[in-house]
Symmetry: C2
Subunit: 363 residues, 2 copies
Amino acid sequence: MTGMPSGKLVNLPRLADRAGRFKMLAIDQRDSLRASLAKATAREPKQVTYAEMATAKGVITEVLSPHSTATLVDPVFGLPQAVKLIPADVGVLVANEDSYEPAGAGGKQRKARSIDGWSVSKAKRAGANAVKLLVYYTPEASAEVVAHQQRFARTVGEECVREDIPFLLELVTYPIQEPSADTPEFARKRPVHTLASAREFSKDIYHVDILKLEFPGDLKYARPFSQGVFDGKDRPAIYDVEQVQAFCQELNTAAQRPWVILSGGVAIREFLVALELAVVAGASGFLCGRAIWKDVIPKYPDLDAMRAFLVDEGAYNFARANAAAQRARPWFAHPRYGDWENVQLIGAGERWYQDYHPSFGSV
Amino acid sequence: MTGMPSGKLVNLPRLADRAGRFKMLAIDQRDSLRASLAKATAREPKQVTYAEMATAKGVITEVLSPHSTATLVDPVFGLPQAVKLIPADVGVLVANEDSYEPAGAGGKQRKARSIDGWSVSKAKRAGANAVKLLVYYTPEASAEVVAHQQRFARTVGEECVREDIPFLLELVTYPIQEPSADTPEFARKRPVHTLASAREFSKDIYHVDILKLEFPGDLKYARPFSQGVFDGKDRPAIYDVEQVQAFCQELNTAAQRPWVILSGGVAIREFLVALELAVVAGASGFLCGRAIWKDVIPKYPDLDAMRAFLVDEGAYNFARANAAAQRARPWFAHPRYGDWENVQLIGAGERWYQDYHPSFGSV
């Protein structure tokens, strides 16, 4: 038996399909979207206006959200429109972080930062079914940065307990010593970092309900894909796909919570391979943004062309991702729960309505 | 343009079908269910245990909730199980009142009372999509009782604004001067009382999102049904069905909010006629309990027999009610909104996430 408080127990299934599989859309990008919109219109990122960000997000949300079991939006540009665009049978996930603050030598490290004027409590009141937090996390960061990131995740996790709303924690590593993430050196570190993150943030003190994890390897450096299969560029093969599958299995063991895979902006074909490998290992689905919709951005500001592209190519990408997730492990079948029958309301019974609030004795 | 805050705007559609029609199940009965369970087992109501109440509600919720667009439960016996029984694509409505306190001469009047240890805030945290409040209301009550009922409704309405959760207010009249509600005298008063209630509680100060109203007449006293059509008992005809239809139209004019019809425990055939008349007049659907499931109670404590009856007869009743509601007016097509396009998020735009909370300037 695994206990869950009422708010989490009601809302977690609302992010998944009836079988408990997550097929979620991410459209909470801010800096990366701003950069792509600037590029599409040959301007500087800072020239992209609020209205433009909101419009681009609105078009993507309107067309693709109906294909998802839940849609992740940011509260600044996204949510104010998404409340009317996300269908009533699709869950609403709201991001809680504001990019990051550079830290450490040369500003190469990343410290989490909250959105000024936003909170878990606002997300809950506004109708969110879950709160998402992105934490950049590498074991190579300074002890101070590592501690900050852990503390930040823990604080948001505790707020989610207090507000009784599911907490989805996304962990993304980044290179400190390497010049770029697209290097054999960093590709070698990916499995190590991803596993370390999954292990750390599975601890009870973080109160995570779903882990959103990176793929534990870089398929562009994996045999038989390294010879330009995904993007036409040749790279050295530093592992083969069987090894990567083993990383996925280790990740599944490390993740003591239901976990989903993110796309991190890779091309759709690479994402579909990663998703399949993750699903075989035990992932409960995906939370994917750019791999599904990024190719629509160059059409901006032609909204009709964007819509046509999303209806055709975007929906096709989504259908393939959804199909790959058909074999995902339902969240309640994760060893943490074992089976839907084992998921129990904390304190169910005669005194529940009096004793409830979930934070009593929990945080 | 009609503004709604985010939490209400996200959650209101979750109570309805995709077209905006409410096909809602009520299983929040307490005293009436306790009495029926006692009768079914030849005992006194006070002998019915918590576990028995919970079990009976659980069986009904499990079988019938999937047929509904939203299910209304009470927080004492119902919600602790319903969190696992109501499907993720069905809205969760939670009752906020604890029967009533007798008042006035001979204790014939009714004063609203809250559930000790429960609150709108708890309902919101626990994952409710809306809060329901039943207020007994007759213009014949003393000024003090009338004022109490109005104040009570207003307080809960304000709490719903603060928690940003839709507020469904149910109004039920009752006889003070007549020996019973099943009298020609009281049947004559029904349209008057129902209209007065709809008019009063449509005022902005109550912050009602959906009115749950009684049928504005007693069809058992209406030609051509008065000669025992519904229950085999002959009664005088005090109006005919055309007059009742006119009452429905007046009620629709009086109700300045989307409204649904309740069943008040009448037989299913009577409810279906009432629902059809209400829908023609402009109701946005129904919130129906006993008319759909009451005939299952005599089978208690044989849970298998209950389940079989609900799967057969209960689902059949629900299918007919859902079919009758197919012509209901979508909630957003009510004159208060006019059209989905006119429903707008309050404060949408660049500063929304900072300015939000809905109670700012609202209550």
